[in-house]
């Protein structure tokens, strides 16, 4: 079965080509069928592969198709790696992808036919790239997908390219990603230089022989790549802006899949990271800082998608925290559950936006629960999941990360919990403002409010089920013995970096339980507070001041970046262009020409026209020549 692995990315690629090339010729329905069908086909194959991987006796396989680059000593095959980690991601990507494609057929129905096809082409291309990313058996193939998803993200954020703000957001996303990509590339170069190969197997096999400095360097550079793709400090600002794209895109790319590429990559490189403890700490600290930082911003956002975006950044921070503290399974687990509930949240938000005719400000919503029951329920479930209320999926995954963090350091744990509280607060603020209370929009909007079509609600329902039940594959040991099926499934991948069961056993079961339910209790209190506070929200015109205004303005990070990077770079470039280039370098070149002309003008004045002076110069020259000849040798 794993021989058929090429089919997985092939289907979306075909979908992309068909929809892309035939964008003018194809009707909407065909586009939808091709778009959704290709991903669905992929999903089916992925499922088959997953089953094969899951079956006992399976060994990870590398399937090589051809040599992508083969020159000199360097050989980079175009090869796919089929193992537990990649097959799990295949499922997530194609699964969530299928749902979102389906959802999109309804969500994007306002677009003209060619744009509709273009949209699906992009989306399929994205799936293709993402699959390449997770399937690649070496860092170069991974990088192809890595850049590919960035490109698709760029294309989809700027999907409505008439709007310049969207274009700017798209550009920002791409450039920020590129900054990270540079780190990734440098890491790859370092691997080539040090290990002579980029194949996972070769690199991991040789890694223990490398010096700590090299490993720290490589892993840090890889992490720089991850901060770009997964929107961590300092490269996170693109993600909230990326909400400019169509909402399903936000769900698929900017929540469920692409942004988790960084986590996938680090999990994939767990062997390297385990050998570089300094990097691990940095990853943990950055992750935690991002989680808190983004959560604070999310508290005061009024755009429904912005809240979710910052929430995504924050959740990604948790995943990195998990990676940093060595809880690879936990991080992957959270990726999975997060894919479910965050996709659900976004799709729910999309449903709301669709119903509200592209109104995104939650202050203008309220009381939608009666108009959109399915959306309402599924959204609530997702909120509960993300807030970490048992037995919803978020609880299990987040708990696993927090537990691991506690083992590493109580400080991580405390801050992690604070973040979790904030998560609960802003999610229920969002929920309450949107669905509870009275409708605060215009009558026109109210008149048109309705539940979304089936194509949209079905994915919501499916995702809701997954959000609710998804956590059950990873029930912690303290609750049920040997019920963490994810851990046992992924164990071969992380085998080398798991120091066995010792760390887990450091914490007594009772402590763990107390902490677990203590946290849940506090979260519940926070939820109630938020619910009550925002259920009866009325619009005010007063502007916020002080700290809350700082939060509302996202800590002015964009402004700071603008002031310390963009603007200086631009002025520097202008300086180079206007001063260095024009005056110095070109001036020098032209100066040579001018000097020649000047010399010419002066020199020709010797030609005075007077015979007397000519002869005088001749005589003087004769005298000089005699002098030279007389004294030259002596």
């Amino acid at each position: 079965m794993s021989k058929l692995i090429y089919l997985v990315p092939l289907f979306p690629l075909i979908g992309f080509l068909v929809n892309g090339l035939g964008r003018k010729a194809l009707s909407r329905s065909i586009v939808s069928i091709v778009g959704v069908g290709s991903v669905l086909a992929s999903f089916v194959v992925s499922l088959l592969i997953f089953l094969e991987v899951k079956s006992p006796g399976f060994t990870p396989q590398v399937i090589t198709f051809f040599d992508f680059i083969k020159t000199g000593k360097l050989q980079i095959p175009f090869a796919f790696q089929v193992d537990q980690l990649s097959s799990l991601f295949l499922l997530i990507i194609t699964g969530v992808g299928t749902l979102i494609h389906l959802y999109s057929t309804a969500y994007m129905d306002e677009e003209t036919a060619p744009d509709f096809a273009r949209y699906f082409a992009y989306l399929n291309l994205f799936i293709f790239s993402m699959l390449l990313l997770v399937l690649g058996a070496n860092y170069v193939i991974m990088f192809i997908g890595w850049e590919g998803v960035g490109l698709c993200s760029y294309l989809l954020i700027g999907f409505w390219f008439k709007n310049d703000a969207y274009n700017d957001a798209a550009k920002k996303a791409f450039v920020m990603n590129r900054i990270g990509d540079l780190g990734f590339l440098l890491a790859v170069f370092w691997m080539i230089a040090r290990f002579g190969s980029t194949n996972f197997a070769d690199v991991f096999a040789q890694a223990p022989g490398a010096s700590a400095a090299v490993l720290t360097g490589i892993t840090l550079l890889l992490f720089v790549g991850a901060t770009g793709k997964s929107a961590q400090i300092p490269l996170f600002t693109w993600l909230p802006d990326a909400m400019a794209g169509p909402t399903p895109v936000s769900a698929l790319i900017h929540a469920a899949t692409m942004v988790t590429a960084g986590i996938y990559m680090i999990a994939r490189s767990n062997v390297l990271y385990n050998l570089a403890p300094i990097t691990q700490n940095i990853v943990a600290v950055i992750g935690l800082a991002t989680a808190l930082f983004a959560a604070t911003i999310a508290l005061k956002q009024n755009d429904i998608k912005k809240v979710l975006a910052y929430s995504t950044v924050s959740q990604l921070g948790y995943m990195f925290l998990g990676l940093g503290v060595g809880a690879y399974t936990g991080a992957i687990f959270h990726v999975m559950t997060h894919a479910f509930f965050k996709a659900l949240l976004f799709l729910g938000a999309g449903s709301v936006i669709h119903a509200m005719h592209h109104e995104q400000d939650i202050r203008n919503m309220g009381g939608l629960k009666k108009y959109m029951p399915v959306t309402h329920i599924t959204f609530l479930l997702a909120c509960l999941a993300i807030a970490g209320i048992p037995p919803f999926s978020g609880f299990f995954s987040k708990d696993e990360i927090l537990t691991a963090a506690l083992l590493k350091s109580p400080v991580y744990y405390v801050f992690g919990v604070i973040g979790a509280l904030m998560t609960a607060f802003y999610m229920f603020r969002l929920y309450a403002l949107t669905f509870q209370g009275k409708f605060r929009g215009t009558h026109e909007q109210e008149h048109h409010l309705h539940e979304s079509p089936k194509a949209m609600t079905i994915p919501l329902i499916v995702l809701a089920i997954l959000s609710v039940a998804g956590g059950l594959i990873g029930i912690p040991e303290v609750l049920m013995k040997d019920a963490h099926r994810l851990q046992s499934f992924l164990a071969p991948v992380f085998a080398e970096s798991q120091p066995g069961g010792e760390t887990v056993s450091h914490l007594s079961h009772s402590t763990e339980l107390i902490l677990m339910f203590g946290v849940v209790a506090i979260i519940l209190i926070v939820i109630v507070l938020a619910w009550r506070k925002f259920s009866n929200y009325t619009k005010t015109t007063e502007t916020s001041t002080g700290f809350s205004s700082i939060l509302e303005n996202k800590w002015y990070v964009d402004e700071v970046y603008d002031a310390i990077i963009s603007k200086p770079l631009r002025s520097f470039s202008k300086f180079l262009n206007n001063v260095v280039e024009r005056l110095a370098i070109d001036g020098l070149v032209n100066g040579v020409g001018k000097a020649v002309q000047y010399g010419s003008r002066q020199l020709r004045l010797i030609q005075s026209g007077q015979v007397g002076s000519y002869i005088l110069i001749m005589v003087v020259a004769t005298v000089l020549f005699f002098i030279i000849q007389l004294f030259w040798k002596s």
Binding site: G612, L616, V619, V620, T622, V623, F626, I627, L630
Partner: protein, 164 residues
Amino acid sequence: MAEILFWLLTALTLMGALMVVFSKNPVHSVLWLILVFFAISGHYIMMNAQFLAIVNLIVYAGAIMVLFLFVIMLMNMNSDTEPQKNKWLKMAGAIAGGSLLLVLVAALKDTDIKTRSLSGAEGNIGLVQELGKVLFTDYVLPFEISSVLFLSAMVGAVVIGKKN
């Protein structure tokens, strides 16, 4: 005796030359120049080059200088019409000439032949007979060729002088 004569002629030559340069009136310059030629002819005779001495007088002092005189007369030149260079240029010219002299003297003061004497009337190569022999044997080619020179000078005089 010969020495005294040498110095006398030398003094005459140089003084005449200087006067050629300094005379304001071109006519005087010509006359001084003729004097110089006579003195030079004297030198020639002292060096036993009688033929050249005579030719010098006939060709230079006689023909060429008379030509000069004619031209000057034709143009009615005198010291009043004589253009003068400004003082500085004159000075520069004199200095340049002087320094050339200085340099040449410096270069030549230590020649290996400087003490070889030219005294004595031995030898007869300077006589017409001898020179004529050489001229029409070994030097017949240059002699013929110089006719081309004269031809071209003649043509030139015609071309330039002829009225259009």
